[in-house]
Symmetry: C2
Subunit: 432 residues, 2 copies
Amino acid sequence: MILEKSEMAHDGETIADVMLDIGRRARSAARDLATAPTEQKNEALLAAARNLYDHLPIIRDANQADLTLARESGMAPAYIDRLTLDKARVNAMGRSLEEIAQLEDPVGAIMASWTRPNGLKIDRVRTPLGVVGIIYESRPNVTSDAAGLCIKSGNAAILRCGSDSFATCHVILDCLRKGFTEAGLAPDVITLVPTKDRDAVGLMLGGLSGAIDVIVPRGGRSLVERVQSEARVPVFAHLDGVCHVYVDRGADLEEAVSIILNAKLRRTGICGAAETILIDKNAEADLATPIVEALLDAGCEVRGDNAVQAISAAVLPATETDWRTEYLDAIVSVKMVDGVDGAMAHIGRYGSGHTEAILTECYGTAELFLKKVDSAIVMHNASTQFADGGEFGMGAEIGIATGRMHARGPVGVEQLTSFKYVVRGAGQIRPK
Amino acid sequence: MILEKSEMAHDGETIADVMLDIGRRARSAARDLATAPTEQKNEALLAAARNLYDHLPIIRDANQADLTLARESGMAPAYIDRLTLDKARVNAMGRSLEEIAQLEDPVGAIMASWTRPNGLKIDRVRTPLGVVGIIYESRPNVTSDAAGLCIKSGNAAILRCGSDSFATCHVILDCLRKGFTEAGLAPDVITLVPTKDRDAVGLMLGGLSGAIDVIVPRGGRSLVERVQSEARVPVFAHLDGVCHVYVDRGADLEEAVSIILNAKLRRTGICGAAETILIDKNAEADLATPIVEALLDAGCEVRGDNAVQAISAAVLPATETDWRTEYLDAIVSVKMVDGVDGAMAHIGRYGSGHTEAILTECYGTAELFLKKVDSAIVMHNASTQFADGGEFGMGAEIGIATGRMHARGPVGVEQLTSFKYVVRGAGQIRPK
């Protein structure tokens, strides 16, 4: 149900009141969901998928309404595309829920187990985090993907969609909630914030009086930046994915070209796409020329330092800003560096802590790089575009985190959990 | 070296400048420390211990100076006792560092390892968190205990001691730093904030422009409360340890009395001490009378609900406040509840998420309690006073956390780490 601001305001109820009530109800629903049986959670996910398939016409109607408003307000075509749901996309949302149902349930898993000399048996057991707040923008499919991952990991979810997908997301939420309740879960395990008022975001970032355990922003840089700077609760996110590929003197040239073209150009808009290529200037044979030419031939704009500019007139000069830029486009910055130490110094200065790769047949150099570079993901002789929960075999992910706390790298169902210690005794008391 | 505010102010340098510089230097030192060999870190810890032993007279002189000031300002005897260092206590600090040296190095440990169908080999590898900020009060031994745990886990530490132990802690820090540098570590792996100005705490809680990854407060409730409410970086802490022991109808009475006396009275001042006893009113034989009498006989003040007050005239009435109070003293609140569900409802309402125990020979009831109660530590037939990193076999702890994120329960060297993914390939590129 979508509330108008005026409706909420009646009886003097403020947005803060509405949000605090949502928080309280989510926290309460989370308590039961935390120990819900795996079968029930899986049934809920499958029922939600069925409800999406069954309500395709209603979803499309709501989406048309959102699209009409978006076109009237002159949104860019790329934006309109992200907002659009057709049958294939709705089916993909349903399938994604079915895949999440297939994942192993992390809750209750015994992470470690040991017995103390006094006979106490200690288990470290996975538990849900509690309540996850998700703040997202135009893609309506985040509604079901994020909700599905939260339910599977035993967490209640409070979703705040973008204003432009408001109608679409509410219909999707109704389908999900219908499925969840059909399986006997409480309706409040999932809530969509019923107002477009931006104050709701600020209230969520404040944690709703302790009702939200973690915030996951899904969207562009400005959203993530606001969330990271304002949130008073932990945030799983990455601000930038300025991913580096370092081509060492020991690299196999053919393999290097193949990996670099894939890392940069397979899909330029994903966070694991390479943005800067660092090339060892100490290579006996020249690595830079064929790599730069391959990038130019593939239609990629190359911005380089002086040495790279000397390779081709087509290379544009790179500025200081380029080394910090996540292009998310067919543009790459290329720099000559003094071996692996030069590469690591550059990454230490300009990297965003997301994913960096080294290409070399010299395993000693590779291991040094893998050990010393402090990014969420470090790779040897592979494309940075593998930086993805699905490619890691972790199943669907709610995002990739670059913070060092709790969840780092792909955030899947396991990363949406906490743990507790279960101690089983036989009357032990602690000696003086 | 201890700076006076006037010294820092010269050349227009503000406290913020000093603190930001400390942050930058700690971050830089943390980078090298992150990959320092285990042997070097252990040598550093042993050398630090030697320096503490060797400088006992200087430490005692500084401590005498602090004690004189504390007595002049009329500090309570318990406070004076916490502040006092004698030979035994300095030796204990040294031994604690030697024990930390014996712990397994968590850094570099492979937490999980798997190979993808495309041949990519993925390791999840432990890494340090980075820079740990520790804010503590009167106990000078926190300086060496906390620093030792940070160094072992590869983290740089920025320490902010209490004003009353300023001289003592600075001499201890000089000893530690001397030891660390003798082993070849950078001096900036450990810093003690060189001013008593309270603004320094606020600056640390702000994270020093991203230089601090986590804050650990060590001290009383008011310190932890301030840190939790103001910190803009993650905090490992617990505000309260209102630990419950629930005595089920299935409990063995003799064992229950033994555990309750230990849980409440072994040491009343530790966070794992029991504060509330919940007794099943459905017990066929009366459990409450012998338990309450045993507590009274042991010299414990008992505050109870009506049913408990009926047991003995010595029982005082418990107010609503009692159920929320961590006495840290020989006082206990006792309540009759309607079975395990009543106990869990009480804990859900009043618990602080630290440690709760169930006493029963009925394993079904015990497992229900262990599963449903969402505290950092849940126990069956054992004393809550085992809630301690050392007793868990995790080695020394920097504290106990009740948050659900990252570290929960005892925070030892392993909990002071993060992780990264190391991906080893052979030229793999990601298919379209």
